[in-house]
Symmetry: C2
Subunit: 351 residues, 2 copies
């Protein structure tokens, strides 16, 4: 009772990828809740929706008509947060007001022509086509000399601010390397210099030995709840092989990525029998900065907000915004829950 125990006592854990801390309060999961209850995601959407600007054949905000596409497609975001023609410039008033102009390119990727699907409900070969399209897009954007970082991500579910339920992801490519990536580069570089191997190779080896935070694995990828997870059911996909970016994956690895994506997102949907909301995205090396970044190890983060059910989420508010993130259930508990779930999607389980 009086010895420090990660499963029972409040403590902080270090995120070795960013150098930042999270507060874990394992004893606090039974708070009463008189606060907000979310509406659960709609069980079934139609396959085609007339006023969806992402469905095949429909007209987008800028007047373009979508083709009658039958696999994943990519196009430039009609409401891009970053633009390719922004003039260069900077502000620095006495080190107090500091700003820099920022060029970039924002793309949208529709995962499927079907309005009613999401990654876990898609067939494996169709998810593989999404992986291939990510590859094509990454290659094209990395060929633009001013682009230094290419952020591939997905906001899934309306509580994650997804502005349209049609299954889609985004790519925001920018002139500067964004902050989170700067942090991860710094931490990985330091480890690589000191130990001659990638931080995530060493970390993965340890996790595979301990097993308690592993969710699923195949020949090429491992899905786990990181030791420093902030969100209740946060997960990471890490490639077994140390590659610096997606372009290096072999065809077999691309199949493996599609498979682990289907596996993890199906477990997510099965956890609370709802279309599980999350923001997810890959992290990989910066491009066009004159460095081949041997320290970088490709991985993908999943940040899902649900805590106790389809309608009760974790809020990252007050203390989290002002001090540092806090979680109630332990990462080990979350991993055990996800590990024991079936990999057949609950909607198909009865069939």
């Amino acid at each position: 009772e009086n010895t420090f125990d990660l499963t029972a006592h409040p403590h902080t854990r270090l995120n070795i990828l960013t150098g930042e801390w999270v507060l874990v309060s394992p004893h606090r999961s039974k708070r009463p809740w008189q606060g907000k209850v979310e509406s659960p995601a709609l069980v079934q959407r139609p396959a085609y929706v007339e006023d969806c600007y992402l469905c095949p054949g429909n007209t987008r905000a800028d007047g373009t008509e979508n083709t009658q596409y039958d696999g994943p497609i990519a196009f430039t975001n009609d409401f891009s947060a970053l633009l390719a023609n922004t003039p260069a410039g900077a502000v620095d008033e006495d080190e107090l007001l500091i700003a820099r102009s920022q060029k970039g390119i924002c793309r949208v990727i529709c995962f499927s022509p079907r309005h009613d699907l999401t990654l876990p409900e898609m067939e494996l070969p169709d998810i593989r086509k999404v992986v291939d399209l990510w590859h094509t897009e990454l290659e094209a954007l990395a060929a633009v000399p001013f682009i230094k970082y290419i952020q591939i991500f997905e906001n899934k579910g309306e509580i994650m601010g997804c502005s349209n339920p049609h299954p889609h992801g985004q790519i925001w490519a920018s002139e500067d390397v964004p902050m989170e990536l700067e942090k991860e580069t710094r931490q990985q570089r330091e480890y690589f210099r000191k130990h001659g191997r990638s931080l995530l190779s060493a970390y993965l080896e340890k996790e595979l030995k301990q097993e308690e935070r592993i969710i699923a694995q195949n020949e090429h990828f491992v899905a786990l709840v990181p030791f420093w997870a902030v969100w209740p059911y946060e997960a990471m996909i890490i490639s077994r092989r140390h590659v610096t970016n997606l372009l290096q994956f072999t065809p077999a690895e691309r199949d493996g990525l599609a498979a682990i994506l289907k596996d993890l997102t199906t477990r997510y949907d099965n956890l609370f029998e709802t279309s599980f909301p999350y923001s997810a995205g890959m992290h990989q090396m910066p491009f066009n900065d004159g460095d081949d970044h041997p320290e970088w190890h490709w991985h993908m983060h999943f940040y899902p907000p649900l805590l106790r059910s389809a309608t009760v989420k974790k809020f990252m508010v007050g203390y989290e915004m002002l001090a540092h993130p806090q979680r109630d259930i332990t990462p080990e508990f979350a991993a055990a829950r996800l590990r024991e779930l079936p990999v057949v999607h609950y909607k198909k389980a009865g069939i």
Copy 2:
């Protein structure tokens, strides 16, 4: 058209308090929205609610009965994220799994016995009593030798994860200095060393000269939208006098703090004619670490999520979580909107 313009072109701004960046996309505020719409806050709550565990006379989760209190009160949180008796301990497995035990104390502060009020709807002398209670609590917690940082904050509104609508704030005091405070200490210390005055004194001077980001001011405090604001209507209250913590405020300054709090939160409610949700909290020097922190300048942050109306909020998701925060309207636009609002609460304006 081809010169860089902060009001028109995408750019990044530096938060000089944390050293972190935010992406500003001024051109992007007219995106179509087929996503989540929040339910607006209830217009009128009853003054007393039988099953509210914070109302006077009611029984709390731990069985304690609340007194028939008539001003603000404080008590230890029944579901404290931090506990005073946590055993010491640490984990470090090969620099990969790193954790430390964390002692602390969590307090709840009811602002008023009335279930139906919020800070902007309270009378000035009653807000002043809240300021005095913060003072008392801070003094008591700073006297606990193991406490290094005392975070005073409020989550207001159910979309900010407030678990009970009865007007209340919280204090989480911890053994370690949390991350955000480490960042602010580092940045302020560096500036103070270099220039011999506090970073926020210099910053405030510049803002008062430029005027465009000022919301409101009185003899002792200024409310403004910081140049690096992340949330659409984010604000900061800065004391004109360079004091390191709340305990140093004179009685006149405490009055001034109550007044600027009422002013800012009333403007917030008036913006969309709704009880404006936010997380807010003060930042001040760490205690009991053998340093009197001459670099530290007391201030208070307000992080409100609403973007366009009582029902459309800004989501800090995908790109924000994986890369860095992004905003659509400029801080200058937000400040102008707040500045032009009346300081009489909209519910009382007709009377």
